[in-house]
């Protein structure tokens, strides 16, 4: 999740070009971050120490961790902890950008520190996003929000998991995305019964078309009736699954038919209880709960 957000940040800050980012993201699908880059990202080693250790590793054909421990740069515990972070895709993204000569080690660390600072995200949320841990990421978003029986958090978790499963495995929750304008195309479905919930899904036409195409696995030419039906059906699917989950907990919910929100009935984003922006390759998809 985090690699897409970090990539987006690098793009916004003009630290990489779209083609450099796209190339690095594609390459990252088949690679793992080295221990040295993880140690850099964690502030455990300096760029000079990493380069020196890499040099020795190349010369002596020994493991990076072993050399770093021998030289006192890392402890055995540090190495174990870093090895457990090798799923870290945003660090891998940095590593590839270094390999491609787009960043120096120092430049990468500077960009990473700036991202951590500018994002304002807590370390626990950053870690959850980095691990792709939907439960923890959603729990961090809900920290401080009244949701005693986790009804809303359960919904958001299911929604994100459904996007991962049916639309885009690399989708990222983007907690820092701005509030969407109220005139975006939007789809709405109302659930009522033991609890009341209104779900609104909105985004630019380009994003909704991307969602529609990925969900339906059809080639769609434009945001036509079929594309709109695909977005609506995805919303309907998630809400159906949620109502089934609730039913297993003896919570009865009835679903009204999903509908496209008419353009003369602007969505009242400011009145929402929960807003979860999700970053797809084409842009932001906004989930709002009322």
């Amino acid at each position: 999740m985090l690699s897409r957000l970090f990539g987006q940040y690098l793009l916004q800050e003009r630290l990489v070009t779209p083609s450099q980012l796209s190339h690095a993201m594609a390459k990252s699908a088949e690679a793992w971050p080295f221990l040295g880059i993880l140690a850099l990202a964690e502030g455990l080693m300096t760029p000079g120490q990493v380069e020196e250790t890499h040099e020795t590793q190349r010369r002596e054909d020994r493991r990076f961790g072993e050399i770093a421990v021998e030289r006192g740069y890392l402890t055995v515990e540090n190495v174990e902890s870093l090895l457990s972070r090798q799923q870290s895709r945003h660090i891998l993204l940095g590593q590839i950008l270094i390999e491609e000569g787009i960043f120096s080690h120092e430049g990468f660390i500077k960009a990473l520190e700036a991202y951590r600072r500018d994002s304002g995200l807590s370390r626990s949320l950053l870690d959850a996003l980095d691990r792709g841990d939907v439960d923890d990421a959603v729990a961090s978003l809900f920290a401080g929000l009244a949701d005693e029986d986790s009804f809303l958090a359960d919904y958001v978790t299911l929604f994100v998991r459904s996007v991962i499963r049916f639309v885009d495995p690399g989708v990222a929750i983007d907690p820092l995305a701005e509030t969407p304008p109220s005139d975006l195309p939007a789809f709405r479905q109302v659930l009522s019964g033991d609890r009341d919930l209104t779900v609104i899904l909105c985004g630019d036409e380009e994003v909704l078309l991307d969602l529609a195409g990925r969900y339906s696995r059809m080639k769609l030419d434009g945001f036509d009736e079929l594309a709109q039906a695909s977005v609506g059906e995805f919303l309907n699917l998630v809400n159906g699954l949620f109502s089934v989950n609730c039913s297993d907990r003896t919570l009865d919910l009835d679903m009204a038919p999903q509908e496209q929100v008419p353009s003369d009935d602007p969505i009242r984003i400011e009145e929402r209880t929960v807003h979860v922006p999700l970053r797809l390759p084409s842009g932001l998809l906004h989930l709002s709960l009322y």
Binding site: F166, S216, M218, E225, L226, A229, S230, G232, E233, N236, L237, N239, G240, L241, S243, V244, C246, S247, D248, D252, L253, M255, A256, P257, Q258
Partner: protein
Amino acid sequence: MAVTEKKERPVVLVCDDSVLVRRMMRDILKEGGIAEILEAQDGLEAVELYRNHRPDLVFMDIVMPKQNGLDALVAIREYDQAARVIMASSAGTHKNLKSAIDAGACDFIQKPFEKEAVLDMLRRNLEGKWD
């Protein structure tokens, strides 16, 4: 491979308010050898089409505008006690399943559909009639 090779041509009615679902179901049914497929986008249309064409099998969504699938099921079964209606929905809650069974639905299929699951439904529900 076609589900049925009888000379008679089974007719299947697909009722769903989503044009996407109707399109997907049509593709799967054609692959299953069903040449005659009727489409309805709400319960009222489904009941009317059923009365006019007496299809051999109905795939019925539950959550739809105008008339939901459960009410349409009741209306169809009132008209024809032998009607074979499969409820096809994402909303397979205990309440909906019970209502569907009570009203005489012959099966239930959970969205999102897997092609094989739909073909299996065809085999099971058209078998006796067309083999």
